[in-house]
């Protein structure tokens, strides 16, 4: 921008500001609009949660007629849900898959993120660049060969098949590498002088220092696994091995879905991720900040 246009801009801006500060109501109106906009957004964001909880207490016929107040059918809906769904088994499947996959993903991806950042070499930088390129290849492009691989290995319909392809996550590797940039190198140097080996530094220095990064990654990975749909839909084929996400989808696909019962199940399926989010919320935002920096 040249200095003359800058001066012009500033001049015209100054008159505008003069008008605005001269009229306090104008600023008040703008403030009010911001609150209005945010309130509408917040309402729209939260309403479906309210709807889900209220729906769990209403019969299906009322739900599809738009009844948005508490009803008396909670127990009926619960009974129908537990009669149709082997809930302990299904929730165990979901929890087992999500917990194991999250633990493995964090371990493997944080090791790699640390390795890429701390031990830079030309070859490894090239590999890292290649991985970032692969990040943009959609899952659809590998799902058919993956399915053929697992069916040839006779692993279709097992937990292993659901978990294994997800544990080396390029996104989480990238995330840990970014966060490692903020890891103070003096700590590592000091630990080295104390005679710690690299794996000891990783385990006893890096890991405790980076706990908010791990917390944030835990949320992201756990939710992704708990909510994962397409790949489990392909490899989990018998009812007793399915996750809650798959069961909910199957119930919704019925010709006349029983929404009361389904929304009851949806509440159950959403609770774990909601609880984790509220417990780790501050960590989550901290971790996100680390990733963007």
């Amino acid at each position: 921008m040249t200095s003359t246009t800058m001066a012009e801009n500033t001049a015209s801006a100054a008159t505008k500001v003069g008008l605005a500060t001269g009229a306090a109501p104008f600023r008040l109106i703008r403030r009010g609009l911001v609150y209005l906009l945010l309130s509408i957004a917040a309402f729209i964001s939260v309403f479906p949660f309210y709807w889900m909880v209220v729906g769990a207490t209403n019969p299906s016929a009322e739900i599809i007629k738009g009844k948005a107040t508490l009803g008396g059918s909670l127990l009926t809906n619960a009974a129908t849900f537990f009669a149709q769904v082997d809930a302990p088994r299904i929730f165990f499947n979901s929890a087992f898959i999500a917990v194991i996959a999250t633990a493995l993903t964090l371990a493997i991806s944080s090791l790699a993120g640390y390795g890429f950042e701390m031990f830079r070499s030309r070859v490894r930088e090239r590999i890292f660049g290649l991985l970032l390129l692969l990040l943009s290849i959609p899952f659809a492009a590998m799902m058919v060969p993956l399915f053929v691989m697992f069916s040839q290995a006779k692993l279709v319909n097992t937990y292993v098949a659901v978990i294994l392809p997800t544990v080396a996550s390029i996104f989480i590797i990238f995330y840990f590498r970014q966060a490692t940039k903020a890891f103070p190198s003096e700590l590592r140097d000091a630990a080295k002088i104390d005679g710690l080996k690299e794996w000891q530094i990783f385990l006893f220095v890096y890991l405790p220092v980076m706990r908010s990064t791990y917390a944030a990654a835990t949320i992201i990975v756990f939710m992704a696994n708990w909510n994962n749909y397409l790949w489990p839909l392909i490899v989990l084929q018998t009812a007793e091995n399915k996750t809650i996400t798959l069961i909910l989808s199957a119930l919704t696909s019925a010709y006349t879905p029983d929404y009361g019962m389904i929304l009851f199940g949806t509440v159950l399926a959403t609770l774990p991720t909601l609880i984790i989010f509220f417990l780790l919320q501050r960590r989550f935002v901290e971790g996100m900040l680390g990733a963007v920096k």
Binding site: I63, G66, A68, P257, M288
Partner: protein, 298 residues
Amino acid sequence: MAQARLDRRDQITGWAFIAPALILLGLFMIYPIVWSLWMSFQVGKGMNLSFGGFANIMRLTKDPVFLRALGNTFTFFIVQVPIMIVLALLFAVALNDSTLRFRGLFRTAIFLPCVTSLIAYSTVFKSMFATDGIINEALMAVHLIGAPIGWFSDPFWAKVAIILAITWRWTGYNMIFYLAALQNIDRSIYEAARIDGVPAWARFRYLTIPMLKPVILFTTVISTIGTLQLFDEVYNFTAGNGGPSDSTITLSLYIYNLTFKFMPSFGYSATVSWVIVVVVGILSFLQFLVARDRRRSA
């Protein structure tokens, strides 16, 4: 600096740290990707495949369902991504004002949709979009519509419902990225601009947008990839068929149907999946170009 030449032992340690990830990625990502590229030139049903050269690509051009899926995916992408990015930016800028009351509450509320699974929220939305349901009721109460909309029986409104649902689910997610980036911007720049009398919109246009450009680019690319892979919501809304009459079928849903629903044609479905790869590649490249051009002219 870490740039210093590594000795032999450090080299070995470096490889050891990344080896588990590389082995897994090689096995479950790179190998399947290469395989599917090879598969995309194969024709035949089931495991009876033979080399067909460009036969699959020719078939693409004459396949009405594929063309429909490609068109739908583009519609979702062109309409949904810009709306979501603009809304997310708007909310982030509003929430970045430290004098605003209830910031934490607003932020949590707008981010909340991200904790739901794609299946859970599409189920909830499906029940809200019922013909006599709450959405139609509300729209009629404020006289926006005269008669109930058949959200899932009309090809146009079915698309609108899906776009509304996706926007609900992902706006807060993008907003968090912008908020994080905004908090990294040095406040004194804004103070200086304000004292110089630069109005709010100009501060937004000439300070905020350029400084957020890398994050905007990042979220746009991520959203593009996400939208082009759209599957869960459409599958759940339409009981897996992309109806009414293929009006909401997406590329991913078509690949799924080709592979697991009809007599499997692995080769052809691999070809369709590589269409997504190529489109994602082209769009990401264009987005990088646009971002770079703007920087040059600024």
